[in-house]
C-alpha cells in the first residue's frame, strides 16, 4: 500500500496491536495525517486497544523507582529554572565565601546554632591555589521532646553534602527516616535519602542531590518506602 491508499480494516487492527512491519506502520501514519475517514475508523477501535493497555495483572511499582525518576526530573527542572532566570539564581544565594565574611547568619533557631568553617589550603602543584573554604559544618535543631540530647549536623565538602544525626529514637516499625529539602514557603521535596539509626540513634547519610537552593534540611519518620510529602512533623531541622 502507499500513503494515498486507505488503510484496510485488517491492517488497521494490526496497526493498533503494534503488529505491522515498520514500513506498513510508517505508511499508515503518513496516510492518517490526511485521511479523516481512516482516522475515524481507527478511533472506533481505540477503546479496545486502551482496554488491553489496562488489562495487565496489577503489580505495584517499587518505591525506589519514583525516587530515581524524580531525582532526574528535579535535576532537569532545576536546570530549566536556572536557564529561565539566569540573573536571579546566582544572586539569590550569596557565594560561600561572601557568606562567611558576613556576620553569622541568624538561623532563627532557639538552640544555639553553630556555623564552623574548616579551611583547607591546597598544597598540590607549584602555583598557590586561592584560599577557599571547602568544608562547612552547620548544626541543626532536634526536637527535644522526642529526642532529648539528640543532635544533627550538615557537612558540605566540595558540593558533597552529608547529614549526620545522633540520639534519635528509632523511626518506628516499618518506617524509616526520610530527608527533605525546604526552600522558602514551598512544600518540602524529597532529598532522595532514607535512613535508619543504630542502637545509639546515630546515622550518617549523603544527600545524593546535595541541597541545591534549599534553605533547610528536614527529617521525618515515613513508611519504609518513603513518602511523596512529609506526613509527620520534622524531628530534625538543619539550616543549610
Amino acid at each position: 500500500m502507499s500513503a494515498s491508499e486507505h488503510i484496510s480494516p485488517d491492517l488497521q487492527s494490526a496497526y493498533l496491536l503494534g503488529a505491522c512491519t515498520e514500513g506498513e506502520a510508517r505508511v499508515a501514519r503518513e496516510h492518517l495525517t490526511g485521511c479523516n475517514a481512516c482516522a475515524h475508523s481507527l478511533d472506533q477501535l481505540r477503546p479496545a486497544r486502551e482496554a488491553l493497555l489496562e488489562a495487565a495483572p496489577v503489580r505495584s511499582a517499587p518505591a525506589y523507582l519514583k525516587d530515581a525518576v524524580m531525582a532526574e526530573v528535579r535535576r532537569e527542572a532545576e536546570l530549566f529554572d536556572a536557564a529561565k532566570a539566569p540573573a536571579s539564581t546566582p544572586a539569590a544565594r550569596p557565594r560561600l565565601w561572601e557568606r562567611l565574611r558576613s556576620p553569622l547568619p541568624a538561623l532563627g533557631l532557639a538552640a544555639a546554632a553553630a556555623l564552623a568553617v574548616v579551611v583547607v589550603v591546597g598544597v598540590t602543584g607549584s602555583a598557590p591555589r586561592p584560599l577557599a573554604p571547602t568544608v562547612t559544618v552547620s548544626d541543626g535543631e532536634v526536637d527535644s521532646r522526642r529526642a532529648p540530647g539528640g543532635n544533627a549536623r550538615l557537612e558540605t565538602e566540595d558540593g558533597r553534602v552529608r547529614l549526620s544525626v545522633a540520639g534519635l529514637p528509632g523511626p518506628g516499625p516499618g518506617r524509616r527516616y526520610q530527608v527533605w529539602l525546604r526552600t522558602g514557603e514551598r512544600p518540602p521535596r524529597s532529598a532522595q535519602a532514607l535512613f535508619s539509626v543504630d542502637a545509639k540513634g546515630s546515622a550518617s547519610v549523603v544527600l545524593p542531590e546535595g541541597t541545591g537552593a534549599a534553605d533547610a534540611v528536614l527529617v521525618t519518620s515515613e513508611p519504609a518506602g518513603g513518602s511523596v510529602l512529609p506526613s509527620r512533623e520534622p524531628i530534625v531541622e538543619v539550616p543549610t
Binding site: S13, C20, A48, A56, V58, P188, V228, E237
Partner: protein, 234 residues
C-alpha cells in the same frame, strides 16, 4: 522552632481492576479518582491544588517543567504503567528499566502531548507499551527475525506449543482473563502474541503456520469483539 504540618500521604489512585466492568469503568472515568483533599496546612497548598487538577491541566504544567505536577501524574498512573511493563517485560528489573525510561520520556516530551489524540493516561500507557515492546524485541532479537523473513523466522522461533504455552501462562490476572476470555482462543492468541509479546503479524503467521491474511483477520475480529464487549457494558 520546627515548622511544618502533618500531611496525609496522597491517596494511591490505581485500584486493582476487577474484571471487564472495572476496565470499562476505569476507561470511562479517566481511570483515577481525584485524591481526597490533603489536610490544610502551611506546606500543603501546592500539593493540594495539584492533587485536584485534571490530568490535562497537569500536563500543561509538566510541559513547563513543573516537577511537582509531574510527581502527581506519576502517582496517578504508575501502577497501571508498571503492571503493563511487567506483563510485557516479564521481570522486575526489566519492568523497572522500562517504566523509568517511559516516565522520563513523558517528562521530556510533555509538550508534544495532544489531548485530541486521547487521554493522558492512554498516552502514558502507550509510551510504556512502546518502550516495553522495544526492550523485548531488543532482548530477543525480534528485529533480526523480522528482517530475515517469515520462513526463516519460523525456524528460529521456539516450538509453537512452547511459545503459546508461555504466552498463555503469562496471563495470570483476573482482569486480563476477564477481558481476553471474551475472545475465542484463536483470536486471543494473536492478541497476546502481538500486543503483549511483540510479534508482528508475519511472525505470528509463520509461527502458527497459518496464512498471513488469516492472522490479520483474527486481529480484526478480536478488536471488533473487544470493542463490542466494552460498548455493551453499562
Amino acid at each position: 522552632m520546627i515548622a511544618g504540618s502533618a500531611l496525609r500521604r496522597p491517596v494511591t489512585c490505581d485500584e486493582p481492576p476487577r474484571g471487564l466492568v472495572a476496565v470499562r469503568r476505569k476507561m470511562a472515568t479517566g481511570s483515577h479518582p481525584i485524591p481526597a483533599p490533603l489536610r490544610r496546612g502551611g506546606v500543603s497548598t501546592t500539593a493540594d491544588k495539584l492533587g485536584r487538577m485534571a490530568d490535562e491541566d497537569l500536563m500543561a504544567l509538566v510541559a513547563a517543567t513543573d516537577a511537582d505536577a509531574f510527581s502527581v501524574l506519576y502517582d496517578r498512573h504508575i501502577t497501571a504503567a508498571y503492571s503493563l511493563a511487567y506483563r510485557i517485560a516479564g521481570s522486575q528489573s526489566l519492568a523497572d528499566d522500562v517504566t523509568q525510561a517511559a516516565f522520563l520520556s513523558v517528562w521530556r516530551s510533555a509538550g508534544r502531548y495532544d489531548s485530541r489524540q486521547g487521554s493522558v493516561r492512554s498516552w502514558v500507557l502507550s509510551i510504556t507499551h512502546n518502550r516495553a515492546i522495544d526492550q523485548l524485541r531488543r532482548a530477543t532479537r525480534h528485529t533480526d527475525r523480522q528482517a530475515a523473513g517469515d520462513v526463516e523466522a519460523a525456524e528460529r522461533l521456539p516450538a509453537r506449543e512452547d511459545t503459546e504455552a508461555a504466552a498463555i501462562e503469562a496471563v495470570q490476572g483476573e482482569s486480563t482473563r476477564a477481558l481476553l476470555d471474551t475472545l475465542p482462543d484463536r483470536q486471543r492468541r494473536v492478541v497476546e502474541l502481538s500486543f503483549y509479546s511483540g510479534y508482528s503479524h508475519a511472525e505470528i503467521a509463520a509461527l502458527l503456520e497459518v496464512p498471513l491474511g488469516t492472522i490479520k483477520g483474527r486481529m480484526r475480529r478480536a478488536l471488533d469483539r473487544l470493542r463490542d464487549e466494552l460498548v455493551a457494558i453499562p
